[in-house]
């Protein structure tokens, strides 16, 4: 304390010098932030660098897919496209001249009259000569005779391809048409028109000179498009713009609109605070300036450290810095009464503890490993620390000692009052606990998208008109540094994605890579292929003559092949050029695969994409499936959130240990814990889902709520009245009012952050101001018991796993029984299966391979390490372990602790008995969840995901033993 007194005395003594130095520092940091800092709105920084979702997002960016615009012109009448032909053409031409438009695709290129012959001409480049092996001369002549027997059927197509070799390319094009969802008619109008020829599509690629598109760039582009449409198109025509840029625009506009209103509310609140509470004390005006100064200093440091600073991080941190006014409020309250320096010294410890604990929490956010969040955590932590220093040492030197602020809070609970408050609090906690299982989760990025309902609906309708969801496939974006690498990657897509080539379409089917092309040409020029061609030619002539057909009927085919072999340069046909122009760019390509099933999403996420990520540095790959992206985001973010939460708990424990007394620790954590539980109640009542914004909001809240606990403790201990109660009320009021204003915002990120912070701080403040004194009044015993109960209940409640959800089905009892029996016969049948077993205990995970052999009354499991060494061999008969062998590679403590009941656990998972409840769902019915008896020693839960009917296995089984606190995740390894 003497150090603080010395420093405070020094600050007062050298106040002028200190103010001057501070001003100089601020000016320097401001200049540094303004002129040295590089800021961007690059959303890719929101994703972890080594994550699947991040890689997918960056691939989309590389492919400029985030800057494409689809313009739909509705002429208002069927066949209206033909009528408006000239106007549409003029619109297209002028569109190309607009600023920030790189290219426009709207004219369907004319297909050459000889397209069928051109396809044959591509064969030596696009296909291996092996295809000649199946050429059947007799079948070719037979087909020709059949076609001759038909009325007016042209034969030229058959003449140029007697063996149906074109079929492969045509099938590929058919696959492209199907997977690309091109259900509209492209023929007849010259435009990309729908089947009714009522609507046409213009595909634009925007270019903002390498800048990240923001509202200032996007809005004028959209405006100029709409104006051009008004000038050029008939008055009946309606324009619909569908683009990812709309999301950028609306998100930015919504955020600006919301921030303006929130700022307005905040200013009004602060003015009221100044007038009502501080009684026009001018010194109080310094309170909001200090966090601003702290933020400027941090921004200057950031400009020096980071090459690229996220703009939205600065925005969010501005808000966090706003919350740091609490420190100023506490200092002002302490410094305004009698014995100001003594009062100020008395709050030094709680103030430092609260600021530093918040800073530590924000620093923990850096543990997410996500670029934007590292900046966020660091920025907030530094700002809080600088604000603490400024508030404690500089603010007192700026304010003159005047009238003390108005007293607004005084609460000394009587016995009856205290009991009533504690009862209400316990009921509140119980209700909140009951709401935890009702919480909804939505970790998709859509949950953070601030577009309006109207835009979302318009996008859905647009999608249904042009790419019917049920038919279309999924685009796959491949990005790389040159075209040839792209094409080579496309050729390897089937093996990368574990699919048959026939199921997908990729640009290399129309234009192979250089290597593949050379290989194909060499195969056609080989002696064997040349001999085969010569034989086919002779045999065809003979067969034709015998059938009464011209002997040289199929001469055209051989002529085309010869011409191609003589030319070394591959010139794709016009149709191929048109498709390639759309699908193949300098550094990106688009392929199509069939729509993903639930099992596909699981397979891609767990095996395919991680493999690609691991082994390829030469290309990026993004499968544009919303389901996959959502699952990838959850998969990427969940372990990071888990890591942060564990680190947070450890930090809290370390931080709280210093208080040594369990009573003090309970007082500090009660407000925060109540807030967290209260949030689950509010979320369930308001239908608010747990998403990325709420998750990070809760982490921020953890940093803020500790302050209230620390000051609540300070109030109970300190013999100096430093106005802490008033300061807590004011801090809470400013935070609740400011964050509460966010509840009116339309943007989901702001709304959810506001929801968490306003309700969280409200519950924290109410608990710190009323519940803590009431519990203390009751001599803590009941409080301790209540808290321990609360901790136990919340811990066990949070540990349950959520089973896979399926749509409810109305089926008869007989059908339900039949489906259940069918499932049981398939899943519980005796067999031997290979699984990957992932064992998790707290934050420690490890994987092994495990063979499980099940019979009607026994089960054997043998686990091996990746090098083949047997790790365990367990036999269970009728639910009891009869053999148990563990390798010395598994420590004894793990054998006893993690695998103590492993045999019984496996029995619960694989055998059709031993569970107190079994739940079935899906179509047809399959097992979704099994639970053990609900006692502490016997409590377990098994959750079954992604049933694969064909193989009669689950894609994933998770088993949790609540007694050993161990979780086993089993995935089929073959």
């Amino acid at each position: 304390m003497s150090v603080i007194s010395t420093l405070l005395a020094f600050a007062f003594k050298r106040r002028r010098a200190m103010h001057a130095a501070l001003l100089l520092l601020l000016a320097a940091m401001l200049l540094l932030a303004l002129f040295e800092g590089s800021y961007s709105n690059d959303l890719s920084q929101v994703f972890p660098a080594d994550s699947i979702s991040g890689s997918m997002f960056r691939s989309m960016q590389d492919a400029s897919l985030t800057q494409t615009v689809q313009l739909e012109i509705d002429t208002g009448a069927a066949d209206g496209v033909s009528a408006a032909d000239k106007e549409l053409a003029a619109f297209g031409e002028r569109l190309q001249g607009l600023r920030n438009v790189r290219s426009v695709f709207y004219r369907v290129p004319h297909v050459s009259d000889n397209v069928m012959e051109e396809i044959i001409g591509t064969l030596p480049f696009c296909a291996n000569a092996d295809c000649l092996a199946k050429a059947d001369v007799k079948l070719a002549v037979k087909t020709a005779r059949k076609m001759l027997a038909m009325p007016g059927v042209p034969l030229s197509i058959l003449r140029s391809d007697p063996f149906g070799l074109r079929m492969r390319q045509l099938s590929q094009l058919e696959t492209f048409r199907r997977l690309g969802g091109y259900s509209g008619g492209m023929d007849g109008t010259g435009f990309i028109a729908d089947a009714e020829k009522r609507r046409v599509l213009f595909l634009l690629e925007a270019d903002f000179d390498g800048k990240q598109p923001n509202a200032a760039l996007i809005a004028p582009l959209f405006m100029s498009i709409e104006n051009l449409a008004k000038e050029t198109l008939p008055p009946t025509a309606a324009v619909t713009i569908n683009s990812p840029l709309t999301h950028n625009l609306e998100n930015e506009q919504t955020v600006r609109h919301d921030i303006f209103h929130v700022s307005l509310v905040s200013i009004v609140a602060l003015v009221l605070l100044f007038v009502v509470f501080y009684r026009n004390a001018w010194g109080a005006l310094w309170i909001p300036f200090l966090p601003l100064a702290a933020a400027v200093i941090t921004a200057g440091i950031f400009a020096f450290i980071f090459n690229n600073i996220c703009l939205f991080v600065i925005g969010i941190c501005g808000g966090i810095a706003g919350l740091a006014v609490d420190q100023g409020i506490h200092v002002f309250a302490a410094f305004s009464g009698r014995n100001p320096l003594r009062r100020l010294r008395s709050i030094a410890v709680p103030l430092s503890c609260s600021a530093l604990s918040s800073a530590v929490v924000f620093l923990l956010v850096c543990g997410s490993g996500i670029g934007a969040y590292i900046q966020l955590g660091l920025f907030a932590a530094l700002t809080l620390v600088f604000n603490l220093l400024l508030s404690f040492f500089v603010l007192p030197t700026l304010i003159s000692h005047g009238r003390p602020p108005r007293r607004i809070f005084s609460f000394e609970p009587s016995g009856g009052k205290a009991t009533a408050i504690v009862v209400v609090w316990v009921v509140f906690i119980a209700a909140s606990l009951c709401c935890i299982p009702l919480l909804k989760k939505d970790f998709s990025l859509n949950a953070l998208d601030g577009i309006s309902k109207e835009t979302a609906l318009a996008e859905k309708e647009f999608q249904n008109r042009w790419v019917p969801e049920e038919k279309a496939g999924v685009p796959v974006i491949i990005s790389s540094y040159d075209r040839d690498t792209l094409l080579r990657t496309c050729e390897h897509l089937p093996s990368h994605l574990h699919m048959r080539e026939e199921e997908m379409f990729h640009p290399a089917m129309l234009m192979p890579s250089d290597d593949r092309m050379k290989e194909n040409l060499a195969s056609w020029r080989s002696e064997t292929a040349q001999q085969r061609l010569a034989t086919l030619k002779t045999e065809l002539s003979k067969e034709c003559a015998a059938a009464g057909l011209p002997p040289n009927l199929f001469g055209k085919f051989f002529g085309i092949i010869d011409n191609s072999l003589q030319s070394n340069k591959f010139e794709p046909p016009e149709y191929a050029k048109a498709i390639l122009g759309y699908l193949l760019h300098d550094t990106s390509a688009i392929a199509f695969i069939p729509k993903l099933t639930e099992a596909d999403v699981h397979k891609d996420l767990n095996y395919i994409l991680p493999d690609i990520e691991k082994f390829s540095k030469a290309f990026g790959l993004a499968i544009l499936s919303p389901e996959l992206f959502k699952a990838a985001t959850v998969r990427d973010v969940t372990p990071r959130l888990k890591r942060i939460s564990v680190m947070l708990l450890i930090a809290l424990v370390i931080f709280l240990i210093q208080y040594r007394d369990i009573r003090k620790i309970i007082i500090i954590i009660i407000p925060g814990l109540t807030a967290m539980l209260g949030l689950s109640l509010m979320s369930a009542l308001c239908g608010v889902s747990l998403n990325l914004a709420t998750a990070f909001g809760v982490i921020m809240l953890t940093g803020l709520v500790l302050d209230y606990g620390i000051f609540a403790l300070h109030r109970t201990q300190s013999d100096v009245d430093a106005g802490t109660g008033d300061a807590m009320v004011l801090s809470a009021l400013t935070t609740v009012v400011t964050c509460g204003a966010l509840l009116a915002s339309k943007h989901p990120v702001l709304f959810h952050t506001g929801f968490v912070l306003s309700f969280g701080i409200l519950f924290t403040a109410l608990t710190a101001l009323f519940v803590v004194p009431s519990l203390l009044r009751m001599r803590c015993r009941i409080g301790k018991a209540a808290l321990l109960l609360l901790l136990a209940a919340s811990l066990t409640g949070c540990m349950s796993m959520r089973p896979q959800r399926y749509a409810k089905r109305e089926i008869s009892q007989e059908m339900s029984k039949a489906e259940t029996e069918e499932f049981k016969a398939a899943f519980f049948k005796p067999r031997t299966s290979l699984y990957t077993l992932e064992t998790s205990f707290l934050h420690y995970d490890f994987k092994t391979l495990m063979v499980v052999k099940t019979k009607s009354d026994s089960l054997q499991a043998i686990g091996t390490a990746s090098n083949g060494v047997t790790l365990f061999n367990i036999v269970v008969e009728n639910g009891k372990e009869t053999k148990r062998m563990f390798s010395s590679m598994i420590p004894e403590v793990a054998q006893k602790r993690l695998f103590g009941t492993f045999g019984e656990d496996l029995w619960c998972i694989f055998m059709d008995e031993g569970a107190s409840t079994c739940k079935y769902g899906g179509n047809p019915l399959r097992l979704t969840e099994k639970k053990g008896r609900n006692t502490r020693q016997k409590r377990w839960q098994a959750v079954y995901y992604d049933w694969r009917q064909d193989a009669a296995v689950f894609g994933r089984i998770r088993f949790r033993n609540f007694s050993t606190m161990t979780t086993f995740t089993l995935t089929p390894a073959n």
Binding site: H110, P154, F176, R177
Partner: protein
């Protein structure tokens, strides 16, 4: 554009083969009946190939096209698809019109051409009169334009029946069909 390319898939698609179906369907066809001579001229090879036979059409429902020389076959086209019976192999090939734009188009125009339904043809072709009894049809739709340059229909003097049709392919090959013994 893509349709124009993909619609031709049918040419190379293997047809379902069903052995032993007897084509007795010809007896039922009564609306328009005629004998025909179909001459295919391969311009590149300067070679003509003649097919003779008998046809029967129920407009909008069914076209039965029987060839007697040089091969014996019966081709039945309906809006649902095509059936081809080959006397040599005694086998029937079927191709469904479902999802097969080419087949649907071919049946559609043959039906209208043979029935001389000018009103219906006007939707798909630009029609030019060549003399009093002959018209030239130029395809409007890309799928037809991909197959034929033009189609010429000649009516008899009474203008109550089609006496001949000449299809000119993009390659320059022609298919000339002349009808005799026309019975409406």
């Amino acid at each position: 554009m893509l349709f124009a390319v993909t619609c031709f898939t049918a040419y190379s698609q293997p047809a379902d083969e069903q052995a032993g179906i007897n084509p007795a369907i010809l007896k039922k066809a009564t609306a328009i009946e005629a004998d025909f001579t179909q001459v295919r001229h391969f311009s590149e090879l300067d070679y003509d190939m003649t097919v003779k036979g008998h046809m029967s059409l129920k407009p909008g429902k069914e076209l039965v096209w029987r060839t007697d020389s040089p091969m014996k076959t019966v081709c039945t086209m309906t809006p649902k698809g095509l059936t081809l019976w080959d006397a040599e192999t005694k086998k029937t090939n079927t191709v469904s019109a479902k999802g097969n734009l080419w087949l649907a188009t071919i049946f559609g125009i043959q039906d209208k051409l043979l029935a001389g339904d000018l009103k219906a043809l006007e939707k798909q072709f630009i029609i030019e009169w060549k003399g009093k009894t002959t018209i030239l049809l130029f395809p409007k739709e890309e799928i037809l334009a991909g197959m034929f340059k033009s189609i010429q229909i000649t009516f008899n003097d009474g203008m109550d029946a089609v006496s001949g049709i000449v299809f000119t392919e993009k390659s320059g090959d022609t298919i000339g069909i002349s009808f005799t013994n026309v019975r409406n």
